[in-house]
Symmetry: C2
Subunit: 486 residues, 2 copies
Amino acid sequence: MLHRRPFLPVEILADEQIDSIHLASLEVLRDVGVEVLHPEARQLLVAAGCRFDGAERIYFDPDAVEAAVATAPSVFTLHAPNPAHDVQIGDDSVVFTSVASAPNVIGNGHARRSGNRADFQNLVRLTQALNAIQIHAGYPVEPSDIHASVRHLHATHDILTLSDKAPNVYSLGAQRNDDCLEMVRIARGVSDEQLDEQPSVTTVINTNSPLRIDHPMAEGLVRYARRGQVCIVTPFTLAGAMAPISISGALVQQNAEALAGITIAQLARPGAPVVYGGFTSNVDMRSGAPAFGTPEFMQAALVGGQLARRYGLPYRSSNVCAANVLDAQAGYESVFSLWGAVMGGANIVFHGAGWMEGGLHASFEKMVLDADLISMVGRFLQPLSTEAADLAVETIREVGPGGHFFGSAQTQAGFRTAFFKPMVSDWSNHESWIEAGSPTALDHAERLVDELLDGYEAPVLDQTVRDQLEDFVAHRVAEGGVFTDF
Amino acid sequence: MLHRRPFLPVEILADEQIDSIHLASLEVLRDVGVEVLHPEARQLLVAAGCRFDGAERIYFDPDAVEAAVATAPSVFTLHAPNPAHDVQIGDDSVVFTSVASAPNVIGNGHARRSGNRADFQNLVRLTQALNAIQIHAGYPVEPSDIHASVRHLHATHDILTLSDKAPNVYSLGAQRNDDCLEMVRIARGVSDEQLDEQPSVTTVINTNSPLRIDHPMAEGLVRYARRGQVCIVTPFTLAGAMAPISISGALVQQNAEALAGITIAQLARPGAPVVYGGFTSNVDMRSGAPAFGTPEFMQAALVGGQLARRYGLPYRSSNVCAANVLDAQAGYESVFSLWGAVMGGANIVFHGAGWMEGGLHASFEKMVLDADLISMVGRFLQPLSTEAADLAVETIREVGPGGHFFGSAQTQAGFRTAFFKPMVSDWSNHESWIEAGSPTALDHAERLVDELLDGYEAPVLDQTVRDQLEDFVAHRVAEGGVFTDF
């Protein structure tokens, strides 16, 4: 189901403060510039009035930036292979994704290990099985046992056959981009022309902070935008490391880099769907390690939303934590980041389910626990009815002072659906809990992972589509996939 | 330090919806009425135009309720024995308390056990040691090894000698109320007249839901209000048990009961400091067990704030969870309830640190972990500077594309204080974390409890005050304390 935020996002900065971040970003873009390591992207920028230093740096013309950003849509539909999983991106909708891009994985009965295809597939199955997760965010864990030259083929094949929710693809060069788009086109059963008009995949464009957009990322901006696909431009601006130590300074840089990327996408195709991504957090200044779900992360998440709305753009934030284990820290850092994301007006919450250890491992159990957290947030976002029957004056009259509501007609009629029923939370009394073996949330999540994978049902996939996908993969694998020099 | 919310609270209901809850509450008060088991309180209500049925029930006159509630102050200062711990209650300030009233305790090296004085004293010491906790909320755990006839004397003595933050007292009859106020007067070194003009203690008035105010609670409303002390009127309206199963219905009842209590306090002394307390949550309909930190709890917390502001009253919410153990559930339920409380505009967050298992046990380790959560919320509430130096355009220029901010002058100048440094959160990389023995948040909290209790320093207390307190306790104990028939 689509969650809609029934209240206004929270504004922690005054409009003048947002303006000052905006103006400082334009100043950075104009005077410091951004290295854009992609000739075609540079040509687009120069044609729009930006200045090129002849090497790699582009000095952005503020008017050109504002004009380009203004052509982006504020809301669009992301089409899934199964139309039942189409989602609106933008406005008051809030969409949650699976974890993406972890190199390691924990859970499903095993200790921490490098990502492999079997775990990758199982995490995709969980993503499909959990209603709370609405779209994919990439590879939930890197299937590093598949050779890099053909990994995108097999991995995208797995996502499109094990799940019918909208996929995410990486931007790792023109050939891979084209391969993935072709597979998504096959899975959706549409023509090239239809695909070009219907956003059907998301891709995350991470700037190489500070102030650099590398070749594959710029390539993705140009190519996916031209094909009408969704670029989620997300600078990874860690305050104190790749960005200034002041949160507002890191936000200036985030904003400059996001605007630079969005400008390229809009110049490649005015009106292409883009998302303003915020991923500003802070480092632990004792160790240099990135921290997540911190107060600074929350502030940045809220301000990121204010900035995105200033430009009329959909906004992406994240559900993140730095915990090594599924303990209280994992719980509180995740909910703090959901707090920042949801109250900040995020339209897509990336890494919605399964992200641990600052992204260094995906967790099966965290994916289930996060699905519960997301569902709780979804329930929280449901409008509260104040219709006469729900105000329950008659019920209160019927029960009267000193009575009990268990037996009231209202309770008997509504008790099955009245409240959200979590999967993980243990509300047993102490005696029952001891009797059950004192399970923690992690124990419950482990059991649920088993149950969900046992009960997993593959989506119905047309045999023709399945054959076409397999033929395509076989053909491209036979061709050797994509040249890699590593 | 006093936390101030630098943004408006979130409104999840429209003004008309708040009006409809308000009007439904007045209808309940007028037509169903409330049992008020205290003759003097009933006399005050009858004198104000309410109707008495001759037995126990009062049918409230809506105009009388509105007129009485309007005399309550919207903001006041709560004076602590140490003026450095005075806090403002109301407006945009947010104050966090310790846990209160748990019958059992866990931690500090021991498994779950009944509350006793030694644990009580150690939790009071932790409350004093942790800067995040600003005021007491009652007995953090019931010191059940002290006889009930003299428990209030010894327990209040302990709080006033082990801590100099503002105490909370229970309302358990006239004699206990008087004893506690006298001890607080001694601790603050003020006259009776001064005490009557300076709020110096809080007391929680729980209605006996549905729609009953028992004798000790009504007694507390009348007596503490007359002495200018703070009544936090908090109906415990569990939807589906002591209140309607619909959240808006439970809120109608919460509001009716809160207004009834506040009306009594204001009739006893117009202008007496009161707080509108919200404690609406839901039960697990499978077991009847109360649940906390749920989506329904969050919605109720936000609407409770809207209602309190409608009446211009300070608002109390809570940091609660139902977890049996300090696991991910304890983390996420607590942060969900903090989310509801803080975004709902709570001025006092009760059970701010140490509440577990739906209030059935206080936890030493949770108290430390919650203190960290509270501090994170406090940091989140700090206004974000957008002064030119913090926008950091010059720093971004200095570092340039592809550079690193570790070495910048801004980072070197600011790294010590730039970010919040949690006590509990473990941001180690995986290798260091394994080397450290794979500690969980619970392990870290256990260590911190030891460190904090070892490092505890008693507040400086004037010897005369100390002697007077001890004389008073000795004298009242010799008199036999308070008659108990249990």
